[in-house]
Amino acid sequence: MGTASDIKLIDENGLRIDGRSPTELRPLKIETDVLERADGSAFIEWGGNKILVAVYGPREAYPKHTQDIEKAVVKARYNMSAFSVDERKRPGPDRRSVEISKVISEALSAAVMVEQFPRAQIDVFIEVLQADAGTRIAGLTASSVALAAAGIPMRDMVVGCAAGKVDGKIVLDLGKEEDNFGQADLPMGILAKSGKIVLMQMDGDMSQEEFEQATALIMDATKRIYEIQREALAGKYRALALERSGE
């Protein structure tokens, strides 16, 4: 986790550096169909995060040796643009983004009905235009919406959410300062209806009781985030229905 500092992250009223309560999410907005060429797309703004996701496929997996004769391969590519962070990030994949791409791919695979598309590949391109802590869970949340918008059959939606520890307290959805100077971060990917956990990473220092508190916050927030995902998708189909009725 981050480096120690003298910055006070929680004030005497229990409020956080950006004024939120410990159980409050940052402002969250999702929009679908923001790109012309992709089979499905989504744009998420979560706190200061601005992330675009495009889905292509299912299409024949290439190169051929990557094909699975029993199911489709979900291939997410998480990428941070050069201008997404304070100091310019060298373009292209680094070890961090390779790992994040892997865990996001695995999490989405658990939700997509991959068995319906043997030998196919479903590409999920995640582009972080502006990063503000929690990019992997924001990217995961938006990916799930983009997959659904592409009409790809899914068992459930994947919701990404994180909790962490700052100034010794467990709080929901770490902001940038909290991420930099906090003591633990627990990002999770959860299937919205079943509550199954498909992504989980953790770093820092958490007791087992603190883990319980953190997961309780995440599970509760999952419902709220899922509603926002649903609303984004419903908006898409309401617009479509309106178009149809006008014909």
Binding site: V98, S101, L191, L199, M200, Q208
Partner: protein, 260 residues
């Protein structure tokens, strides 16, 4: 992870392992929460600053530490640097190929690194030669030489053992050589889910049968320092609670038995 030499696990073996697991036994006779035999040989490569040869069942890895002076990261001018790298050598398995690290070996290295780093095992602040200019850089490199499952735990054991014996070459910077300052001991415990069962320290066959993997790294205070879920399956929250409990129990046993 790759399949076995034949490319798949034979149907007979698969059914045998699943049947045994239902009876609470594993293919090799272990109970679900037990590790394979561990052997640790430190100082295996005396030319390195610290080293360890670790056997975890039939999985074998060698960790070597090199320590050189260099520049600190701009955002941590008062800390030394730790970098961890894992090489899946082609000699270790028929389908391992030479070349740049793939996503599998990057994930292993990063999970191992996180356990060492977040447990604050190395006192990085004691590795500053000249603040913001010159610090000690600790390179932890791991060669996987024989693969039979559970590389994350084998690699964490090897790196932790090697770091505990490592010497900083202070004499090259006008001082004295000194033992690398280490404090906590992280122990990672990796478990996989086969059917509805959770088993610790999976061998290769069990990894092939499993749908999801979880690693929990703890320190002696039984706090969680790092976790990673892998693979395309899922865990319920109860299964994760069970995995955390199992990790802290096994971690305690490993500390007592091998790191007295």
């Amino acid at each position: 992870m790759p399949k076995d030499e034949a490319g798949v696990l034979s149907e007979i073996k698969r059914n045998y392992i699943l049947k045994k697991l239902k009876e609470g036994r594993r293919g090799d006779g272990r109970s679900p929460d037990s590790f394979r035999e561990i052997s640790i040989t430190t100082n295996y490569v005396p030319r390195s600053a610290g080293s360890a040869y670790v056997k975890l069942g039939r999985t074998k890895v060698v960790a070597g530490i090199k320590i050189e002076s260099g520049e600190p990261f701009p955002d941590t001018p008062n800390q030394g640097v730790l970098t961890t790298n894992v090489e899946l050598l082609p000699m270790a398995f028929p389908t391992f190929e030479a070349g740049p690290p793939n996503e599998g070996s990057i994930e292993i290295a990063r999970v191992v690194d996180r356990g060492i780093r977040e447990s604050k095992m190395i006192d990085l602040e004691a590795l500053v030669i000249e603040p913001a200019k010159k610090v000690w850089i600790v390179f932890a490199d791991i060669d996987v030489i024989d693969f039979d499952g559970n590389l994350i735990d084998a690699c964490t054991l090897a790196v932790a053992s090697a770091l505990r014996t490592a010497v900083v070459p202070g004499s090259t910077e006008g001082g004295k050589d000194f033992a690398l300052p280490v404090r906590n001991l992280p122990v990672s415990v990796t478990m996989v889910k086969i059917g509805d069962e959770i088993v610790a320290d999976p061998d290769l066959e069990e990894e092939q049968l499993s749908t999801a993997r979880i690693t929990v790294t703890t320190t002696a205070d039984e706090h969680i320092r790092a976790m990673q879920k892998g693979d395309t399956g899922y865990f319920t929250l109860d299964e994760i609670r069970k995995a955390i409990k199992l990790s802290s129990d096994i971690g305690r046993q490993i500390r007592e038995k091998y790191f007295k």
